[in-house]
C-alpha cells in the first residue's frame, strides 16, 4: 500500500453557537492511499457532504486537520483536487468545451492551450462532437460528463464526488458508473465518492467507509474484495450481496435511532 494521499485526522465539525450547536462530524480519521476509490455512505444528514467540503477546503474543521498530498488543507487546492457535485453546476452561458476549460481560465492558461486540454477531456468522457453545445442543450447524463471532464482537466490527484449521479435516472446512472470506472482505470485518480446508494458504493469502490447518523462517526470501513473490472453480473453475486448486507445493517440501525 502506498502512502496516504488524503488524510483526515481527528476531524470534528460543529455548526452554530454554543447554545444550539450541532455536531455534524465527530473525530473522523481516515487515510486514503494514492489511487484508491473510496465510497462514503451513511444515513441522510450524517455529514458525508460536509466531510467532502472539508477535504475540498471549502470550510475549515472545528477540530482536527485534513491533509492532501502532505499539505494541510486550509483553502481549495485547484491543482490537486477536482470536485463534482450532485447538480452538474455548469456555467449555463458557456459551451461544453468552455465549461471544461473554466478551471484553466481561472489560472490564466492561454486560450489555445486550455481548449486543447478541454477537448481531450471531453473525448475521455465520451463527449467528442458536443464541444459547442450549451448546457441546456445537453441531457442530464451528458451534463454530468462535462462536469467530470471539468474535474479532471487540471489533472488533479484527487477527485471528490458529492452524489454525482443522484439526480439521474437508473439507467444513465449505471452507464455513467461504468464510464467512471473506465476513466478511473485510465487516470488512476484517488476518488472520494459520496453516495446514498449501497449498490453504487459496492459496485464502484475499493473500500466503503460507513458513517453513523449525526454526529457522524466512522462505524465501519469495508474493503470491497470484488475483482476488477467490475461487471453488472457481479451485482447479483453472493459476495456483492454480503458486502451490501454488512453496510445496510449499520445504516438501518442508525436510521432507527
Amino acid at each position: 500500500m502506498t502512502r496516504a494521499l488524503v488524510a483526515v485526522r481527528g476531524v470534528s465539525q460543529r455548526f452554530g453557537t454554543d447554545g444550539d450547536a450541532v455536531t455534524a462530524l465527530d473525530s473522523i480519521s481516515l487515510e486514503i492511499p494514492d489511487g484508491q476509490f473510496v465510497a462514503l455512505v451513511g444515513p441522510s444528514g450524517c455529514g458525508k457532504s460536509t466531510l467532502l467540503s472539508l477535504v475540498a477546503g471549502l470550510r475549515l474543521p472545528t477540530a482536527g486537520t485534513v491533509l492532501c498530498d502532505g499539505e494541510v488543507v486550509t483553502a481549495p487546492m485547484p491543482r490537486k483536487i477536482g470536485m463534482i457535485f450532485q447538480e452538474a453546476s455548469l456555467l449555463p452561458w458557456l459551451s461544453a468545451v468552455d465549461n471544461v476549460a473554466f478551471p484553466l481560465k481561472l489560472r490564466r492558461v492561454g486560450k489555445p492551450e486550455r481548449l486543447t486540454a478541454a477537448r481531450r477531456m471531453l473525448e475521455l468522457t465520451g463527449l467528442a462532437g458536443f464541444e459547442d453545445r450549451l448546457p441546456h442543450q445537453l441531457s442530464g447524463g451528458m451534463k454530468q460528463r462535462v462536469a467530470i471532464a471539468r474535474g479532471l482537466v487540471q489533472n488533479p490527484a484527487v477527485l471528490l464526488m458529492d452524489e454525482p449521479f443522484a439526480s439521474l435516472d437508473e439507467q444513465t446512472r449505471m452507464v455513467l458508473g461504468d464510464e467512471l470506472l473506465r476513466i478511473w482505470s485510465e487516470t488512476r485518480k484517488t476518488v472520494l465518492f459520496v453516495t446514498h446508494s449501497l449498490n453504487e458504493a459496492v459496485y464502484l469502490a475499493d473500500r466503503v467507509v460507513v458513517l453513523s447518523a449525526r454526529p457522524g462517526r466512522v462505524v465501519d470501513d469495508v474493503a470491497v474484495d470484488l475483482p476488477r473490472p467490475r461487471s453488472f453480473a457481479m451485482t447479483g453475486g453472493e459476495r456483492f450481496g454480503a458486502l451490501k448486507d454488512r453496510i445496510w445493517q449499520h445504516i438501518r440501525s442508525a436510521e432507527r435511532r
Binding site: 481549495p76 483536487i81 477536482g82 457535485f85 453546476s89 456555467l91 452561458w93 473554466f102 481561472l106
Partner: protein, 251 residues
C-alpha cells in the same frame, strides 16, 4: 415573429387605420376628438419641420438621457448593496417597498419646491422614479446568481474578483438588461409627466399646451413621435438583452 405573422400584424394595423380614416371622413366619429390618420400625418410632418418642436424634443431627450445615466449606476449599486448586506437590506427594504408601491407623482410638488420648474427638476424626478425599478432589478439580479456556481468557482481557485467577473456579471446580465429596459420606460414616463405637470420647454410641455387648446391632431402627432422614440430605445435595449441572454432560452 415569423414572416407571415408580420404580414398579418401589418395588415391588421393598416386595416384599422383605414377603418378609422373612413369613419372620420364620413363623420361617424367626431373628427375633433379623433382626427383622421391622414390629418394626424399631416400635423406630424408640419410639427417635424418646426424648429421649436425639434428643440423641445432635444430638451426632453437630454432630460431622459441624463436621468437614466444617473439612475442606472445609483439604482443598481443600491440594489447590490441591499442584496449583499443583510443588515442594510433589513433596514431599508420596508422603506423601499413602501415607496415602490406609491405613485411617484405625489412627490412632484416636493421636486418643484427644491429645484424649481427647471430641467434639473425633471432629471431629478426621472432619477427618483427610475431608481426604484433599478434597485429592485439589482436585488433580483444578485439573487438570481446560482450559489452552486460560486462554490464551483471557489473549488477551482477563483479569486473574489474572478467570481464577480466570471460568475456574477454573466449570470446577472439578462436581469440587469431587463431592468434597464423597464427602467427606461418608467424614466420616459416620469420626465413627460413632469413636463406636462409644469415646464417651460420639452415635448411634454407642448403636449400639455396642445391638449388645453384641443389641438387634437398635434396631440396625436406628438404621441406618435414620443411612442416611436420610446419603442426605438426599448427595442435597442431588447436586442442587446437577447444577444447577451441567449443562453437562458430553453429551446
Amino acid at each position: 415573429m415569423r414572416r407571415h405573422e408580420r404580414v398579418i400584424v401589418a395588415a391588421a394595423i393598416l386595416g384599422l387605420l383605414a377603418l378609422w380614416e373612413a369613419l372620420a371622413r364620413t363623420g361617424r366619429i367626431d373628427a375633433s376628438l379623433a382626427p383622421a390618420p391622414s390629418t394626424v400625418l399631416d400635423a406630424l410632418i408640419r410639427l417635424a419641420g418646426r424648429p421649436e418642436v425639434r428643440e423641445s424634443l432635444a430638451v426632453t431627450a437630454w432630460e431622459v438621457l441624463a436621468a437614466f445615466l444617473i439612475a442606472l449606476p445609483t439604482g443598481l449599486l443600491l440594489g447590490f448593496l441591499l442584496a449583499e448586506l443583510p443588515v442594510l437590506g433589513a433596514l431599508l427594504r420596508p422603506l423601499i417597498n413602501f415607496l415602490f408601491g406609491v405613485p411617484k407623482s405625489i412627490f412632484l410638488p416636493v421636486f418643484i419646491l427644491v429645484f424649481g420648474v427647471s430641467i434639473p427638476q425633471k432629471i431629478a424626478f426621472g432619477v427618483f422614479t427610475t431608481a426604484f425599478v433599478l434597485i429592485m432589478g439589482g436585488i433580483a439580479a444578485v439573487q438570481s446568481v446560482p450559489p452552486e456556481l460560486v462554490t464551483v468557482s471557489r473549488v477551482y481557485g477563483a479569486s473574489r474578483a474572478q467570481i464577480i467577473r466570471e460568475i456574477y456579471l454573466p449570470a446577472m446580465a439578462p436581469i440587469l438588461l431587463e431592468s434597464a429596459r423597464l427602467a427606461m420606460v418608467f424614466n420616459i414616463t416620469a420626465v413627460l409627466l413632469c413636463e406636462i405637470y409644469g415646464a417651460r420647454d420639452g415635448i411634454g410641455y407642448r403636449i400639455a399646451a396642445w391638449g388645453e387648446n384641443v389641438q387634437m391632431s398635434q396631440l396625436y402627432a406628438a404621441l406618435v413621435i414620443v411612442a416611436a422614440g420610446a419603442v426605438a430605445v426599448n427595442e435597442a435595449l431588447r436586442a442587446v438583452e437577447t444577444r447577451l441572454g441567449g443562453w437562458r432560452s430553453r429551446t
